[in-house]
Amino acid sequence: MAARTSSDEDKGLRKGKWAPYGLLSPGIIWLLLFFLVPIVILVRASLSSKASRFVDPEFTWDFSNFSTAFSAYGTEFVRSFVYAGIATALAIMIGYPLAYWIVTQGGRWRNLLIGLVVVPFFTSYLIRTIAWSAILQDSGPANSFAQWLPFTGPDFKLMNEGFTVVGGLTYNFISFMILPIYVSLEKIDFRLTEAAADLYSTPWQAFRKVVLPLSMPGVFAGSLLVFIPAAGDYLNARYLGNPNTTMIGTVVQNKFLVQFDYPVAAALSLVLMAIITALVLLYSKFLGTEGLAV
């Protein structure tokens, strides 16, 4: 990738008149119809009056749905962002050392080692989550082992706790963290650390002042890519949690597909989207969109 830095001019990049728009149109029209238009409809729905059994929601600039969303489901919002935040932090703490180890120690096995990181994600996400619930079940060996540890007790349970949900979120989305970090570490010329050592830095200083800053784009991209799906998820909470670990995704899913309370559900999902889009725009303002498209 480093070789690809030469400027556009010498690559024969075309100045298009109509051709690029022709090439773009099928894909972009699809996205306009089935991404942008639906979002606009969702905005409309969020500003509609609450429907009853016999009356369809009516568009009334009804902002009360948003205050209802906050007042009734503030806890779930906070919990979702806290869980997703912790999962993101854990993913950095686990993913960064692994990516660093692969880049620095992997040698000629690097491609294989990073390939292995992706392999688990070719089994269904739902089945992996169910697999965790089976591994951690109360009668299983993992739980017995956890109870035997000194700081726990016989009442200690691995399953259906807040930390189980956070663990599931971390597990399910960690490849989104490892791969961008790997890509950014892999671009670093590690002779820079030798240069730092020649200038009397300790290995730790060399890491902190040279490698870490250069790999931050990967960390930022990975954080977004983990945080976004984690914040909106409801399967981990469903399979690994308990009623007190409900996330905002659970509420939205339930309101749309079980209770048919569209206006509030729409408001809830838009708030989630607004917060996340703000994070994404902030990110792309400083770091561009390339890193997100790994």
Binding site: P20, W101, N111, A131, I135, E186, I228, Q253, V280, E290
Partner: protein
């Protein structure tokens, strides 16, 4: 995963693009002694953690389960592998998932690659906006994508089912394909096309002999990954499915009453096939590099 695409990894695309051998000269064995050993130990633990559910899934394909829930070990058997399609509702759902994935991925590959070529090859007004617009579906939580499509279809009185699921899957795959292919053709030297045409090749032949082979690795990677995304998708499908049942939906719906070992067998089959394809394509692209 749209990445949102929740689950699946956008990212394996990168595996093939790693410049072979380049790293080994500049990063030979940084660090030394104990630090290195601790790092390696840690890495082994992380790999174990990553593979734990997989090992569980594979192990329990051999479980002679006595209950309807294949989650506690009752002894070794091969009978689940002898009859992988025993659960007909599950098998039907699995075939429907494959069908959805094939159709959605084909459509997304065509549309997404065209978008990628447009972005990588031309300079035009609106290209920046287009790039941001392409990223948005992937950075929007799946639940919002699902919910908004649900509202769209509901408002137009469109019956939810196979076609709405395909529409949704095409939507999140298009962005994904466009960005993956674009990342691969970013450094492409488009003057090669001029060279071919100077040598008398007509445009279609130029495309077939020069452009297409060069973007093909990107398309293959995008195809594999978006296929995995589509096959695996739960959340968006949940909102657009109506009465239509895909494999993940079936597993979820059945989980209240049963979790047959065939779930594990089918999941293991998908895993094996994807790993084989992943290895094959990366070996091929490595060969391509050395040639």
């Amino acid at each position: 995963m749209t990445m949102s695409a929740g689950a699946a990894p956008p990212i394996a695309a990168e595996i093939e693009t790693l410049p072979d051998g380049r790293g080994s000269t500049k990063s030979e064995r940084v660090g030394s002694g104990w630090g290195r050993r601790i790092m390696t130990g840690l890495a082994v633990l992380i790999y174990l953690w990553l593979f734990a559910p997989l090992l569980w899934i594979i192990l329990f394909t051999f479980n002679d389960s006595k209950s309807r829930f294949n989650i506690s070990w009752d002894g070794f058997t091969l009978k689940n592998w002898a009859d992988p399609f025993k659960d007909s509702a599950l098998t039907d759902a699995f075939l429907r998932s494959l069908q959805v994935a094939v159709i959605s991925v084909t459509a997304a590959l065509i549309m997404g690659s065209l978008v990628a070529i447009a972005l990588a090859r031309y300079r035009f007004t609106g290209s920046k906006v287009t790039e941001i617009f392409l990223v948005l579906p992937l950075t929007t939580p799946e639940i919002v994508l699902g919910a908004s499509l649900y509202q769209l279809f509901l408002g137009r009185d469109i019956t939810l089912g196979f076609s709405t699921v395909v529409i949704a899957h095409v939507m999140f795959c298009v962005s994904f394909v466009a960005l993956t292919v674009k990342a691969r053709v970013r450094g492409f030297d488009w003057t090669l096309e001029d060279a071919a045409m100077d040598l008398g090749a007509p445009p279609w032949r130029t495309f077939r002999k020069v452009t297409f082979p060069l973007i093909l690795p990107g398309i293959v990677a995008a195809a594999l990954l978006s296929f995995a995304l589509s096959l695996d998708d739960y959340i968006i499908t949940d909102f657009t499915k109506g009465e239509f049942v895909t494999f993940p939906i079936r597993v979820n719906n059945a989980f209240r009453v049963a979790f047959p070992a065939q779930v594990n067998v089918l999941a293991t089959m998908v895993l094996v096939v994807s790993v084989v394809l992943l290895v094959l394509t990366s070996v091929r692209s490595e060969k391509g590099v050395t040639k």
